[in-house]
Amino acid sequence: MITYIIRRLIQSIPIMLGISFLIFMIVQLAPGDPIDRFRNPNIRPEQLDQLMRLYGLDKPLFEQYFSWLSAFFQFPWNDRAWGYSLITNQPVRDSIFERVPATVLLMGSSLVVTMIVSIPIGIIAAVKQYSWADKIISGFATIGYAMPSFLLGIYVLFFGGVWLGQLTGGAVSFPLFGRQSIGSEGDVLDIAWHLVLPVTSLAIQSIAGYSRYLRASMLDVLRQDYVRTAKAKGLPASRVIGKHALRNAMIPFITLVGLSLPSLVAGAVITESIFSYPGLGSLTINAISQNDYPVIYATGMLTGFFVILGNLVADILYGVVDPRIKY
């Protein structure tokens, strides 16, 4: 197991290097320049050169790449490791870590909601296959799955934030674009109130996917011999479904959760941007639109890192929940 993890980590090094190189090259080759915004008729060429030197833009590309890469991994103790934002002049590390809690909160709560809703739904749909409940759930799942996330976001925002308020005469309305607060800003209730709509729109989509997935794997397991044996020896249905069937049906499900880890950290760019949520996703979008190189590098590297880590965690979890798998 340990050797397997180590081997996988070593295998991921070239991919990480590839990611870093790819991001670096795309950003470097782009026509936009971070000192463009300083260019105006009043600035002297020497001053521009000075700025270039200050940001290290005068060095050869490969030198820039390697100095950036070697500094990158010093982030735990060096706040300059990821450089300074070209727009806000803050250390990139700090502005990223500042956004992480918000994104983890958003994605974490939508993951929890997804689990709480999709597991019972998936079980019901599988146990009562072809019943009206199953048909409703499957119908909902198909629609939720076919609906692009930005559409879902916009419509959740409209129905929850605008329509509901107009319907109830303003008695119930969820905050939009971070405007209203209830109580004082930043207390638990206020944060929860702001989370409702983005979490709903994120959860609807993943509930649709997860419940479909669980239904399929549950149906598969329910046909197995050991489930029939458990029924035959007179175990109550709850025990057969909850213990014998569900535990096995959850195995592929766990992978899905592991694979969703990167989006947990990188954030749902689209949903965050629609709801003006101050997470990592909107940070990335702003950085890309402003040519803020250091921030783009850091968010790209982080995302790539978490994709690889998520795959690894999923594989390890496989081994933990399924004793038949040995590494």
Binding site: I19, V27, P148, F150, I154, F158, V162, T284, S289
Partner: protein, 307 residues
Amino acid sequence: MESADIRATGRLTAPEIDEVDLVPVRTYWQLVRIRFLRHRLAVIALVTLAILIVMSIIVPVISGETWKKSSLALIDAGPSLAAPLGYNDIGQNLFVRLMKATQTTLIIGFAAVFIIGLLGILVGSIAGYVGGWVDNLLMRLVDVILSLPFLFLILLIVAFFGFRDIRVIIIALGIVGWTTAARLVRAEFLTLRETDYAQAARALGVGHRRLILRHLLPGALAPLVVAAALGVADSVITESALSVLGFGIAPPDVSLGQMLGNFRESLYSNPERIFYPGILLVTIVLCASFLGDGLRDALDPRQKVEG
């Protein structure tokens, strides 16, 4: 069971041979057509898509430049015969605009899939045919691209160009999207390369190019066609997501995603305006994926056609 049948019909082996002769011989493509027509949802999807394509070509052609003309007098004007859905907040004919937007979105979807297909076939067939370190290198490149979120890379490339017209969006979608197609073609090639007919062709002295184009590629066609149909849906969704984030097609051009991206303006006063492009978009996406499902069943030679 079988003996019961024989007893009921009173026939034995000889008539069975006759029956075999009675079954008309059908070519592969005839079977494909029959199987496809049996898939009701796919047929409906094909018809709907065809109607949308025709509408999105005809309406902008007839109305000329109407889709970008705005008029102060017509701001937020109600529906009329010339404008069945009324006018928007800068006095543009909403229906004509929707059709023009559908046209742009469909062009992006199909063109992006074309590039994805070309790149995917090129890389996939080289990797699958040559094998060895070339294969290894290309597949690691695929791994690297897949390790980064799709949208992040596309955003980088769109930002890279600095301007956002239809060509840039198509190229960006193509550059990022080819990885799955390449994996698909590679996997097919790996198995097809070792088949008896490929061996036979090689033994006859068929060259590499002919072997790839005439013998291996047709075998990989079926999964590619299915992937292409689903790829149209994906490309359309991604383009719209880009627009919602503010990285899509820049005005004066218009796409469904761009119309959706302006949702904040009509949220309170004219909410129906966020539903028109949304409905069209979902229709296109659903049609493309049903079409993909139908094609998957139709192109699979293992599926039997009875009667």
